[in-house]
């Protein structure tokens, strides 16, 4: 089985979010970039398929050279090879089209992406990619088993979960549950050394067009201070929630 894991290069959750150039660009100054958490769960599940079922795992990112350390980290975790599509990621559909080209050239059976990235939170790329690649698609995926060309997947739904049967070729929008937090791997020295020798292929983009464009960013208005209620006066809390906040 050939698995492609899509890796989004995102600012760490604890990063300060600021904008430059008249609030049109994200300010990367001092920002630590990481593998998108939803993608890391998928990558770790891919490692399970590699170790238990002999799958071959390639990771891919659409982005400039600055994203390579993130791909190298994925190689250090255990992926066999990496591909960087050498173009700036501009919107969901452009990224999905670039990835669809990688999928069709590489003949991957299973594509694992995260359900959404933690920067733009669009949740667009996996579903778009599946439709472009004419593959089956399951998102919010919390469990995945593959047997030959058949697959069983569980997805989170509002208020519960649903188990589906499907088949390869398949695209997954993964999240926590594919593996647990405690299963995530921190690259060791040997992994880091080996990652340096693994192939990282730079692919020319097909120059897919965008359908949306970012005009400007805004930050929410600063929040007012918390209103503290004395623990001996819970009546006051009920009163505030009813008369001031009007939520009960």
């Amino acid at each position: 089985m050939k698995i492609l894991v899509c890796i989004s290069h995102v600012p760490d959750t604890t990063s300060k979010i600021n904008f430059t150039e008249g609030d049109t660009k994200f300010d990367t100054n001092g920002v630590q970039f990481v593998i998108n958490p939803n993608d890391e769960f998928g990558l770790t599940r891919a490692m399970w398929f590699k170790e238990k079922q002999g799958a071959n795992v390639t990771v891919v990112n659409v982005g400039g050279p600055e994203t390579e350390p993130t791909l190298r980290k994925a190689l250090a975790i255990g992926a066999d090879a990496a591909i960087r599509v050498n173009t700036e990621a501009k919107d969901g559909v452009q990224v999905a089209k670039e990835l669809a080209n990688v999928v069709s050239q590489g003949g991957y059976d299973l594509v694992i992406a995260g359900r959404e990235s933690i920067d733009y939170n669009g949740g667009m790329v996996p579903g778009m990619l599946a439709t472009l690649a004419n593959a089956n698609f399951v998102t919010n995926c919390i469990n995945l088993e593959v047997d030959g060309t058949n697959a069983t997947a569980t997805r989170e739904i509002d208020g519960g979960k649903e188990t589906v049967s499907t088949s390869l070729p398949l695209v997954i929008g993964g999240q926590k549950g594919l593996v647990e937090e405690s299963d995530l791997r921190i690259p060791n020295m040997r992994g880091i050394m080996m990652a340096r020798k693994k192939p990282l292929t730079i692919l020319d983009p097909i120059n897919a067009s965008v359908e949306t464009s970012s005009v400007q960013f805004e930050k929410p208005a600063p929040k007012g201070a918390v209103t503290l209620v004395d623990p001996d006066n819970i009546d006051e809390l009920v009163n505030l929630l009813h008369n001031e906040a009007k939520v009960i």
Partner: protein, 320 residues
């Protein structure tokens, strides 16, 4: 030309988000000077949609669509959009709509903006405000394609009643449910879901153990709320993963979020800060949650929560 809205139903009845997306579609239609058509799948009575600005309903009744199938549903909406010459398609942020919308976008060659919180600020170019960086910022996005898809954030636009009435017609699209087949659904039907709840009551490690969750559940019962938990609590196995809210768990956009014994790690706040009013109960006045909350009680949850339950019961009895 029209605005098409996908109004979701469950067991024949519309979800509240259906009325919210209909209200949104009406606002867009007014800006564009056109009408709103709704597409429903196996909804029993579509007339309610008229109260939220829908002019016409395309009703699909098809036993093959009884179970959700993202590709088949996306194809039904695609056919409805083409039938109506829709230039804007509006969908919700439910798990199902977020699943089908990207597929629909490719089928319609439509640009798609998700997590939209306001009516378009401009229609040429068509520009919407969406959340980004897990609610730490907003992004004004313009959609440049002829057909546009807008995914509306839950509880962001609200319900807008209008005095019209909706005409109804049967719509019989072609249906192909191959590819992905639902084997089983595991869903508590007697409980409010985190996605649909107006109020969410959430517990953290400060509650010390799963045996202490009874008071969280009781507080939720009094308020008609859904129960949730922080990530450490689900990682420790005290509560099921389906209750984990936060960046890698479920997002919460309720009217009221009550956090009990949750310190407010940034990953937790990222997942819940779309909630309108936040209350924190914690013994530690330095807990970061106090900076994010609207109301706070510095105190022992084991004393504060039972008192709160009692006071709320009295309040409910009085205001029943």
């Amino acid at each position: 030309m029209s605005v098409l809205v996908y109004t979701e139903s469950e067991q024949g009845k519309f979800k509240k988000t259906a009325f919210e997306v209909a209200s949104y579609a009406k606002a867009v239609a007014q800006q564009l000077g056109t009408n709103v058509t709704a597409i429903t799948i196996n909804a029993a009575d579509a007339s309610e949609l008229g109260n939220y600005g829908v002019d016409k309903v395309l009703q699909v009744n098809n036993a093959e669509l009884e179970k959700f199938n993202a590709n088949a549903y996306a194809s039904v909406i695609e056919q409805a959009a083409k039938h109506e010459n829709a230039t804007v398609v509006v969908v919700s942020s439910s798990a199902d709509s977020k699943y089908l919308a990207p597929m629909l976008a490719i089928k319609l060659d439509a640009g798609y903006a998700s997590n939209v919180v306001e009516a378009p600020s401009n229609t040429a170019p068509f520009t919407v405000k969406r959340t980004a960086f897990t609610n730490k910022a907003f992004n004004m996005t313009s959609i440049t394609t002829d057909v546009k898809i807008v995914g509306v954030s839950k509880n962001a636009f609200g319900l807008v009643e209008s005095s019209g009435s909706a005409s109804s017609e049967d719509f019989s699209p072609s249906v192909d449910t191959s590819g992905v087949t639902v084997q089983s659904v595991d869903k508590a039907t007697d409980k409010v879901t985190i996605a649909d709840a107006e109020i969410v009551v959430s517990g953290g490690r400060g509650l010390k153990g799963p045996e202490n969750w009874r008071m969280v559940e009781e507080l939720a019962e009094v308020l008609g709320a859904a129960t949730a938990c922080s990530k450490p609590v689900s990682d420790l196995g005290w509560r099921p993963h389906s209750e984990h809210v936060g960046q890698t768990g479920k997002p919460v956009a309720s009217n009221l979020y009550i956090a009990i014994g949750i310190s407010g790690a940034i990953q937790h706040l990222a997942g819940i800060n779309a909630s309108k009013v936040k209350v924190v109960i914690n013994t530690d006045p330095e807990a970061p949650f106090f900076k994010a909350a609207d109301y706070g009680v510095v105190g022992d949850a084991f004393e504060v929560v039972p008192t709160l339950i009692e006071k709320l019961k009295a309040f409910k009895a009085q205001n029943a």
